[in-house]
Amino acid sequence: MNVFFIIIMGIIMLAGVFAVIRFIKGPTTADRVVALDNLSTIVVATLIFMGFVFQRFIYIDVSLIYAVLGFIGVLTIARYLEGGI
């Protein structure tokens, strides 16, 4: 089943590459933040998937915390754009 894992990882990495390109290109702040948001979603998924590949149950905790905290960084910048902080 190794081939399957590699294919999945390849697809996810390709997605990451696109998001990074948008991050570098993105004309406005908001575009970049969208890319960051998307990247952090991708990272959560990747971390869980890698935990599965490594077969360590405890690694899931990391992605659990990532899922919660990743969005707060984005929320902060969004509130900044709004003039909220």
């Binding site: 997605a15 696109f18 149950f57 899931i60 659990l64």
Partner: protein, 117 residues
């Protein structure tokens, strides 16, 4: 039963990966900010959720924690996109032409309300 779960898991994982890819591709290709946001959020959230669900199905003893993560993602991702859209709107980032901006009036109402408070 286990093989069924396993294959179901494979299916969901592949689906998730494809959706994640589509979301990122959408972010890359879409013409203006709001459409990008839409592509990024909807597609990626679905992708991540289904990928995690797939992993949970493949490893039934992990299912509880994966479920928690799915719930978190389902709550947090839309909120951040919403806040982001609002923030971008406040910085006067206009959508492409030919769109109807219904939000403008809501914002005005909100502001007057805030001032009254």
């Amino acid at each position: 039963m286990e093989t069924v779960l396993l294959y179901l898991g494979y299916f969901f994982v592949s689906l998730g990966a494809v959706f994640l890819f589509l979301g990122a591709f959408g972010i890359f290709r879409m013409p203006d900010f709001y459409t990008r946001l839409q592509a990024g959020t909807k597609s990626s959230t679905l992708g991540a959720m289904s990928l995690i669900l797939g992993v949970g199905l493949m490893q039934p003893e992990w299912f509880f924690k994966t479920l928690i993560i799915i719930i978190f993602i389902a709550i947090s991702n839309p909120i951040s996109s919403h806040a982001l859209a609002r923030g971008a709107y406040k910085t006067h980032q206009k959508p492409l032409t030919d769109t109807i901006d219904a939000y403008e009036e809501v914002v005005k109402e909100d502001e007057t309300k805030n001032e009254e408070e």
